[in-house]
């Protein structure tokens, strides 16, 4: 896009810059606001009296002698052991991403290479499954899990999340594999490879961008899920999102709300790092045409 022909006239350039700036403010402002507020006391953050208190921290100064306090973080991480939830989240995310990518690549590859009618219907069934509101699913799973003594542990949640995620993964990788020309496998087979060897030596090296993109979307699903994790995990196995919700429970104990705010910031921080690392891959993965309906 560096060709001279594409240079924008100054007016358009200005307009698009202004638009980008407005959008960035809209997108990022709530997070900076929360980050700033997480170092205040509750009355300042919610500023029932005057919204400017949230900026200056008038009550925080009155209670702690300085405009910043790390009480929220201390409470969340030390007292409420938020790190456990962080650990659980990463266990869940790791397995959900690994398992759903394994099934997704194999399944997506197989579906894209098979010409049978049922492939279409399988994809449609997957879509219908995705259309079902997750709460219904969870309430259906609840009773059998209790009966089989599977409730409350991480593996159960991982399997359910994989099942919920699979339709999306399958669709995405299916369309991605369709973009990889069949001639590639065929030429490999001519060279004497089996179907599996063709997959291993020819397809795997070129599929990474699509897999990474799909993996990121699966990761976000597992990371952000509330409906499943809040109902299927016992207290000690909770992941971050239900843990935050529990800070905000039905009867709020003093100061717990600020634990939640601090935890929200803490939960967003790894995502920042993640996006920084994988931003190029997301974009390049999508560039490979991974998502053409």
């Amino acid at each position: 896009m560096s060709a001279k022909a594409f240079k924008q006239p100054p007016m358009l350039r200005l307009a698009s810059s202004i638009f980008i700036i407005v959008w960035l403010i809209l997108a990022a402002f709530p997070f900076f606001w929360t980050l700033w507020g997480s170092f205040k006391v509750e009355l300042d953050f919610f500023s029932k009296a005057d919204w400017r208190n949230a900026l200056t921290g008038a009550r925080t100064v009155a209670e702690h002698g300085s405009a910043f306090t790390t009480n929220g973080y201390e409470g969340a991480w030390v007292q409420e052991e938020f790190w456990r939830a962080v650990l659980n989240t990463f266990i869940v995310c790791f397995f959900v991403v690994t398992i759903s990518l394994t099934f997704g690549t194999l399944g997506g590859y197989a579906l894209s290479r098979s010409g049978f009618r049922y492939t279409f219907w399988l994809l449609i069934a997957a879509l219908i499954f995705r259309a079902m509101p997750p709460i219904t699913l969870v309430s259906g799973y609840l009773l059998p899990f209790f009966e089989w003594n599977l409730w409350g542990i991480l593996p159960t949640t991982i399997i359910v999340l994989v099942a919920i995620n699979q339709p999306f993964t399958l669709w995405m990788l299916h369309s991605f594999f369709q973009k990889i020309p069949k001639e590639l496998d065929e030429s490999a087979k001519v060279d004497g490879c089996s179907q599996f060897q063709a997959f291993r030596h020819v397809i795997i090296p070129v599929m990474w961008p699509g897999v990474i993109t799909t993996g990121l979307f699966s990761f976000l699903l597992a990371y952000n899920d509330f409906a499943v994790t809040s109902m299927l995990l016992s207290k000690e196995n909770q992941t971050m999102v239900p843990k935050i919700a529990s800070f905000l429970g039905t009867t709020q104990t003093e100061g717990n709300v600020m634990f939640a705010v601090a935890a929200v910031v803490s939960a967003t921080a790894p995502l920042f790092v993640l996006v920084m690392f994988f931003q190029r891959q997301i974009v390049s993965g999508l560039t490979q045409g991974a998502v053409k309906g």
Binding site: Q8, L24, D50, I135, F226, M276, V283
Partner: protein
């Protein structure tokens, strides 16, 4: 995997066709810290007998589908026969929970989906024209609304739009009305939820479109330049057709997700003003006595709704598929 996918669908459909047994009620004396009182309770021995005879419950067919909580055929027929005007009829229908929720769900879906596609598209075009050193940073911040869990994202905004929060105060100052409260009026609550919906999902559309722009064939653009096409004509005749398949994909996913809108309603405490189909399910399951059949029925109706919404896309996929095989 088929087990995990097929079994829940079958069990939900089954559940929507059966209802619990008739409960045998008996009058007993209840005592507690505040004295004794005559009250009723379920006669377990008698009910147990019924349960043994029919373990699935009573077969009720489509009864639940047609009752007041769902399609409400009887109430609609009655409203039609006693109507004094069409507006009267529609307000009677709008008072039924299913249709009230459906009207919000459909409005939400059809306002939010196109807006987020347009917004995502404009951001993608604008970001694409940026200097490449800036791109990384801008993409990073643009993704923020999407990667934050909806429950937390809507909570943060809920705190901010309070009439004494920063956004609420800013709005009051803008329209010069110190009593303005976004949470107190139905119309403003709907607008707030929809703005949130666009804000939350636009990055998804943006990322997909941005990726699509990277594969734009440069020669097509260049030849259009040589033909003297204006910038607008380039977008209209080269870029948009190129991105069309992606628009279909984004529309497919977003129509489905928006039709199931749920978390923002809970996050914004907006139950009084806006209810969606998913919220009805949540409400049925969240009470002290859970209405499983009712929730299952609403779920089946939601799936049917999604199928109807997506039918154009599905038909097209089927045609593509037939051509391919």
């Amino acid at each position: 995997m088929l087990l995990f996918i097929a079994l829940p669908i079958v069990s939900v459909v089954m559940q929507s066709l059966y209802t619990p047994h008739k409960q045998v009620i008996k009058v007993v004396e209840n005592c507690g810290p505040f004295g004794c009182k005559e009250a009723t309770t379920v006669d377990q021995t008698a009910t147990e007998q019924l349960r043994k005879e029919q373990p699935l419950g009573q077969f009720s067919g489509l009864k639940i589908y047609l009752d007041r909580g769902h399609l409400a055929t009887k109430e609609i027929a009655e409203a039609w026969s006693t109507r004094s005007s069409l507006g009267d009829f529609f307000s009677a229908v709008g008072n039924l929970p299913f249709y009230r929720a459906l009207s919000f769900t459909l409005t939400y879906t059809f306002v939010v989906t196109p807006l987020l596609i347009i917004l995502g598209f404009i951001i993608a075009i604008a970001v694409n024209s940026l200097h490449r050193h800036l791109k990384g940073l801008v993409i990073f911040f643009s993704l923020l609304p999407m990667i934050v869990t909806p429950l937390i994202g809507s909570l943060i905004l809920f705190w901010m739009v309070d009439s004494r929060g920063i956004l609420g105060s800013a709005l009051q100052w803008l329209v010069n009305n110190p009593d303005l409260s976004l949470k107190a009026s139905t119309e403003l609550t709907w607008i707030m939820l929809m703005v949130y919906g666009v804000w939350h999902s636009a990055p998804f559309a943006f990322v997909v479109f941005y990726a699509g722009l990277q594969t734009l064939p440069q020669d097509a653009l260049e030849s259009s330049m040589i033909d003297g096409a204006t910038r607008w004509q380039q977008i209209r005749y080269v870029i948009i057709p190129h991105l069309m398949p992606l628009v279909t994909f984004v529309a497919l996913i977003q129509l489905m997700d928006n039709f199931r809108v749920f978390e923002p309603i809970v996050g914004f405490n907006a139950e009084a003003h806006a209810q969606s189909l998913s919220w009805i399910i949540f409400n049925d399951l969240g009470g002290e006595t859970r209405l499983l059949s009712s929730a299952a029925t609403t779920s089946v109706l939601t799936i049917i709704g999604v199928a109807i919404l997506l039918s154009p896309v599905l038909v097209k996929t089927w045609q593509d598929f037939k051509v391919k095989t």
